[in-house]
Amino acid sequence: MSILVDEKTKVVVQGITGNEGIFHSQQMVEYGTKVVAGVTPGKGGQKIDGIPVFNTVSEAVKNTHANASAIFVPPAFAADAILEAADAGISIIVCLTEGIPTLDMVMVREYLKGKESGLIGPNTPGIISPGKSKIGVMAGYIHKPGTVGIISRSGTLTYEVVDQLTKKGIGQSTCVGIGGDQIIGLNFVDLLAMFEKDPGTEAVIMIGEIGGTAEEEAARFIEKRMSKPVLAFIAGLTAPPGRRMGHAGAIISGGKGTAKEKMEALGKAGVRVVRNPALVGEEMEALFKRKGS
């Protein structure tokens, strides 16, 4: 099993006629994702590698029954693309775009309240349910189907962890990049709840980083609601305060949002906190051995 996406998920790619849109649509199709439509205003009627292009998301949904969206739209127009997907009733919106203004995302989050759509990202590598489907830009081949769920604020650090797991023969149910921005859609807590319910997931790895309080909120949730074991790595123990570490959301401000605070909160909640990023695979292996599976 898996969460959010599987072999049945039908994907519409917003911004399909751009370089990124074309390239990653091809990559997704190659991995087995059902890419059923593309959207670029003004280019409706065209086909990209046999994928029909529509002018609007609602036209695409009407004609292809797409239920998920991948957004490859430049930052200035990306917030609008998310709103359009939600308006068209898309259930899972994955926004890959990096660089969307924070206040645009504040407005998007407000619009999404009470809507059925779940937003992943922005500034994310996307979601993959190994062996089934991927909506995103990650290299599919490093993954392996299995029972570990991954939730991460980072891209390549997730690849690193996935690679460590796969090399030890430990597969993944679903890997979700929740995004590196200050304001994102679904957060650790939402996804932990999904993994807790998913019969195909036995354990979860959280990859957090400095900035904000999402990891602390996750710690409170884990303590009260999670029966499955959770392993965590928090990046940025050596990050200086007040500096934005690449991701818009990775900043210690006013002395808050440090890796240390997050590690302590998670540790207290019973999460196995791994301090050495090279040892996440080993720790997961040890955890499974202790569980006796």
Binding site: V106, V137, I142, T156, G212, A214, G246, N276, P277
Partner: protein, 389 residues
């Protein structure tokens, strides 16, 4: 992006927030002229740098005559001002703000930031002004009044009233305060700020509120729609290597260690710094060449890395996904050939076409230590450091 106090005050003034009479000067003569416009009374001369704690560092002077303002400006302009935020080298002062001194009855705090977990802006106010709000939040959080903004309707007047009465102000003061709160929020919202802060907001003995100091931080992602704000960027306030890196769209942050790091992706870059610390060494920098780094970015990143004389060993940690390792290996070898390198280089490559990538590095004839895995890499870095003594 940060701006200077005088720039923040210009913006706030245009939103109806009262600021002291005065102006910015780049030399003592200008300072005197501005002071003459204020007159022979209390005048404040304030160093303009992007760092707090200027008063304690000697960057703020209170004088009583335009000639004294000229003298103070002469002393301050050109000085390397050291504060708790500048580091031991300090920051060279290039401009001073000359302002009319205030007869202060009370110092308050007023600020707007984004509340990340609630995904909306929050207004914070306190009668404990003039100190860091974080300190107040930690020691006496009950002294901070907060009001969250509903993004669909924006900040409303009643909320500004709630803040004023919540602070225990007199009705006449609440009215004045309300306009300042609404103006500050409007500036925050319209200019894509991440922080807009008036600290202290002073209540004068004459019963007026005035923004004595102001700070605004802008969302880099929003700058494309605010050319006038982008023009406020002051490269003198940024580390030269960081300015250079930004020209190539590289994220570089200088630190104090001796292990130069080059990594693709921000999370992996932070994790690489962390593992260096775990094995007992210190990272010299954060450098993210991008999740989808190109050969050109790797080359430029390498040049910037090598411009830091503190770097004794380089650790390259690349996880190639869509980007192929052979392409990257070519970039790294080209860069090493172009840039004179006299320190050991430990390279860890993983991902697509990794075998081919490692072969290119080994056959380049260059002195790379090619490692498998981050753990091995970090250990080799320590060995190289020890070998160098």
């Amino acid at each position: 992006m940060k701006i200077h106090e005088y720039q923040a005050k210009e913006i706030l003034k245009s939103y109806g927030v009262p600021v002291p009479k005065g102006g910015v000067a780049e030399n003592p003569e200008e300072a005197r002229k501005i002071a003459e416009g204020i007159g022979e009374k209390a005048i404040v001369v304030k160093a303009q740098i992007h760092a707090g704690g200027r008063g304690k560092g000697g960057g703020v002077r209170l004088v009583n005559h335009p000639k004294e303002a000229e003298k103070a400006a002469k002393e301050i302009i050109g000085m390397a001002l050291i504060t708790r935020q500048t580091g031991p080298a300090g920051r060279v002062v290039r401009k001073v703000l000359i302002e009319e001194g205030m007869k202060i009855q009370e110092e308050l705090y007023l600020g707007v930031v984004i509340d990340r977990s609630k995904a909306c802006p929050v207004i914070m106010a306190s009668r404990e002004g003039g100190v860091e709000i974080e300190k107040v939040a930690a020691e006496s959080p009950e002294k901070i009044v907060k009001e969250w903004v509903d993004p669909s309707i924006g900040l409303r007047a009643f909320q500004a009233n709630k803040i004023g009465y919540g602070l225990g102000l007199e009705p006449a003061q609440v009215g004045k305060m309300r306009n300042i709160i609404l103006g500050l929020y409007k500036a925050f919202y319209e200019k894509d700020c991440l922080l807009a802060e008036i600290n202290p907001l002073v209540l004068t003995k004459g019963g007026e509120f005035i923004a004595l100091d102001a700070k605004m931080n802008f969302d880099d992602n929003g700058l494309f729609r605010h050319k006038e704000i982008a023009a406020f960027r002051d490269l003198n306030e940024e580390a030269p290597l960081e300015v250079e890196a930004s020209k190539y769209n590289l994220n570089y942050i200088k630190l104090d260690g001796n292990v130069g790091c080059m990594v693709n992706g921000a999370g992996l870059a932070m994790a690489t710094m962390d593992i260096i610390k775990v094995v007992g060494a210190e990272p010299a920098n954060f450098l993210d060449v991008g999740g989808g780094a190109t050969v050109e970015m790797v080359k430029n990143g390498f040049k910037i890395l090598m411009s830091d004389p503190g770097v004794k060993v380089v650790f390259i940690n690349i996880f190639g996904g869509i980007l192929r390792c052979d392409t990257l290996a070519k970039g790294v070898t080209e860069a090493v050939r172009e840039v004179k390198v006299n320190v050991p280089i430990v390279v860890r490559l993983e991902g697509t076409n990794v075998e081919e990538g490692r072969r290119i590095l080994k056959e380049s004839g260059l002195n790379f230590t090619v490692v498998i895995g981050m753990k091995d890499g970090a250990e080799k870095v320590v060995e190289a450091l020890k070998a160098k003594g």
